[in-house]
């Protein structure tokens, strides 16, 4: 570019406009190039979802990088090419990660960068051709050197504009990295159309960079949510009934623990026009009579399985995080405490099994954080694993649970999540239509409601049958065991609920799912619980010492079982919510334990930042 000092005033104005135009054109080019690279990395049509909200916000950080480099290098084309190469590198990594790991780049990858060492670099380099990478880097360095030499300075010496551009761009990038307020507002879930169950679909809607910034903003918001310290103190100071003893199952020998989270499983006997399900779900009723169990209040209705799953695995009520709809995406940290990690510390192996895609609901990431050593997902099931209806069957899942236990050499926790009974229920390609057609209907159910009911019952009868099969296997196996079973939520049987209500006259979201624990040394007992209490019950029945947080969960369970008045119930729930937030931050156990060691009857909690 020319030296503008020798030009007339008119030409200086034209020259200025030319330079501004050039920068705008390069920014626009980056905007489009970023979107095309984004599409290419997930193999979509080049301009799929162009002109959407995601398209417009996805490249904002890229443009900021360009402006920062422009100010630093003082060379427009050089800054453009370096920015383009950096963006290309991000999308190449995304492409490779999807190819090999089937998950896109996420902000969790920052943890990998934080622990980068030679072995990691070597492993990563195995996925690219080193000579190609070296050639690209050399070519880039060569082009950069030539451009730096040929291209004239973009700004004048001691230019105030240059400093301002650098400050604005650097400020924007730093605040984006720090996840400050504006990031969360621009990269919000709804306008981006985040699909929490499918990270690649989110990228399709919003672009990779938007997806990363959106998830990061929500993670930071959650991590920094204010803690109601007064509520925690009030609960710790509260006089509560003693925690009921749940007899250890097997003395010094740790039982194997199998937890079945059964998709959409509820007892249709609570429907108004159905007497009971003793004959149709025989194993459920046998288990409820033989073990500890009853009804459980899940934090969701009709879907969003991961909310119940998160409560069970972590002991954290979703009520502690009212802004969080999808905990596996919005609560992301290297270590998520819960009963799985406590069992690991007690010598257990921990395996999760789910016959669906491993990235669904971000489970592949979440399960590592929660402490599972292995996650067996759909791609690990045999190619001929049995399907029934839309999904892999409960029979195939039970086969995997049994195979996992057969190979176990240490006390083992198996957390199995079924999928067979997932909707839709109107048009369901079941294996045995004749059996479905023979399922008796509650009085008055007809049309779509009858279709829904029969398809649903067909699948939960399979769930009941497979649960009975697993129970029998565990008994015959001869090792101490606990079999834990619960439904994750009521199904969305829209037509059924419209035609027949519930026995108690309350709507579907106020209904409960069944749960039970049967196994070695378990005495029958009926309990109503919230799903965040289940982990504490499992630990107590397995004879594994409770962490200070789970001791407080057990206290809350005991206090709520005594049916306190509404005001006290609220105080207990608020106290647990506050303690749960501290539990996730890793601060509650030490505080409660320290107060216990000091001999105080009621622990108090120090102020949280």
């Amino acid at each position: 570019m020319k030296d503008s000092r020798s030009l007339s005033a008119d030409k200086q104005v034209s020259w200025l406009l030319f330079r501004i135009g050039a920068v705008v054109a390069l920014c626009v080019a980056l905007w489009f190039a970023t979107w095309v690279m984004d599409r290419a990395s997930i193999k979509l049509a080049w301009f799929a979802y162009a002109w959407t909200y995601g398209f417009f916000v996805n490249a904002i950080p890229v443009v900021m990088v360009f402006l920062l480099l422009l100010a630093l290098f003082n060379r427009a084309l050089l800054a453009f090419i370096v920015t383009l190469l950096l963006t290309l590198a991000l999308y190449a990594i995304n492409f490779l990660k999807l190819k090999y790991l089937r998950i896109p780049v996420t902000f969790s990858d920052v943890y990998v960068l934080g622990n980068l060492h030679v072995a990691t670099l070597k492993l990563l380099l195995d996925y690219v051709k080193a000579w190609q990478l070296a050639a690209v880097l050399l070519a880039a360095a060569g082009i950069g050197a030539v451009l730096a030499w040929l291209e004239h300075g973009f700004f004048r010496r001691r230019s105030v504009t240059r400093a301002a551009v650098a400050l604005v761009a650097a400020g924007g990038l730093v605040s984006a990295g720090a996840g400050v307020g504006w990031v969360g507002r621009i990269y919000a879930y709804d306008p981006l159309r985040v699909a929490p169950y499918a990270p690649v679909l989110t990228q399709a809607h919003a672009g990779l960079i938007s997806s990363i910034l959106s998830a990061d903003a929500m993670r930071r918001y959650t991590a920094n949510a204010p803690v109601d310290v007064a509520a925690a103190n009030a609960f710790l100071a509260m006089a509560t009934p003693p925690v009921a003893s749940l007899a250890p199952a097997a003395g010094v020998v740790r039982p194997d623990i199998v937890v079945i989270q059964s998709e959409s499983f509820f007892d249709p006997g609570i429907l108004k026009d159905l007497a009971n399900t003793d004959a149709t779900l025989p194993n459920l009723h046998r288990a409820l009579a033989a073990g500890v169990g009853g009804t459980m209040d899940p934090p969701t209705f009709g879907g969003s399985t991961l909310r119940t799953e998160f409560e069970v695995l972590t002991g954290v009520p979703m009520a502690a995080y009212p802004q969080v709809e999808f905990p596996y995406l919005q609560i992301v940290q290297p270590v998520i405490p819960g009963f799985v990690r406590i069992l690991r510390g007690d010598g257990y192996d921990a395996v999760a099994i789910h016959p669906n895609h491993r990235t669904f609901w971000n489970r592949d990431v979440a399960f590592k954080e929660i402490g599972f050593q292995r996650f067996i997902s759909k791609s690990d099931f045999p190619a001929d694993a049995r399907r029934d209806g839309w999904y892999l069957s409960d029979e195939a899942l039970t086969d995997q649970v049994i195979a996992t236990l057969d190979k176990a050499s240490a006390p083992t926790l198996v957390f199995a999540i079924s999928i067979e009974a997932h909707g839709p229920y109107l048009d369901d390609p079941v294996d045995d239509p004749a059996r479905r057609a023979a399922i008796p209907l509650p009085d008055g159910l007809h049309g779509n409601a009858a279709l829904e009911y029969r398809n649903y019952m067909y699948h939960i009868q399979n769930a009941d049958r497979q649960m009975g099969r697993l129970w029998q296997f565990l008994v015959k196996r001869g090792r101490p065991f606990l079999l834990v079973f619960y439904g994750d939520h009521l199904p969305a049987l829209t037509h059924v609920y419209a035609q027949t209500g519930f026995d108690d006259g309350q709507p579907g979201p106020d209904q409960f799912v069944p749960w039970f624990i049967v196994g070695t040394g378990v005495e029958p007992r009926t309990l109503h619980i919230e799903s965040w209490m289940l982990g504490s019950d499992i630990l107590r029945m397995a004879g594994v010492p409770l962490s200070p947080y789970y001791q407080q969960v057990a206290r809350a369970q005991s206090a709520l079982a005594a049916k306190p008045d509404a005001q006290q119930q609220d105080a207990i729930q608020q106290g647990v919510n506050a303690l749960a937030q501290m539990h996730l931050r890793g601060t509650v156990d030490a505080l409660v334990a320290r107060d216990d060691a000091a001999g105080r009857n009621n622990a108090h909690v120090a102020a949280e930042r």
Partner: protein
């Protein structure tokens, strides 16, 4: 002003890139509402006769980020319906018999507006 004019000309041209080479492949509908449910039937129409003089074409389908799966081997011109499995982000590619990519189309969805009451 030249630059402004240039940008004004280039922007629509870049937008038009979405159709570059893609006229050989059409999907109907190209966009559907989430209110219609997760899966729909899509009508796929292709015409590669301008570049494929002899032999046929292949059509692949895949979800975003997944491996393409062969859906159809067909003459250079034709049309077919998918089953009720076409979903948001599903991409169809048209490939000639030497494996050269001729066109790509992605099925898009629009958000289902939330209605009160």
């Amino acid at each position: 002003m030249r630059w402004v004019r240039l940008v004004l000309v280039c922007l629509p041209a870049l937008g038009g890139c979405s159709h570059f080479g893609n006229d050989m492949l059409q999907i109907t509908p190209a966009t559907f509402s989430d209110c219609q449910g997760a899966n729909i039937v899509v009508h796929v129409k292709w015409d590669a006769t301008s570049v494929v003089k002899s032999g046929g074409v292949q059509l692949f389908v895949y979800k975003p980020g997944r491996q393409p799966e062969l859906w159809a081997q067909a003459p250079a011109k034709g049309e077919a319906d998918t089953g009720q499995w076409a979903a948001d982000g599903m991409t169809v590619t048209l490939v000639d018999d030497r494996g050269k990519l001729l066109a790509t189309r992605t099925l898009q969805s629009t958000a289902c507006p939330v209605t009160s009451g």
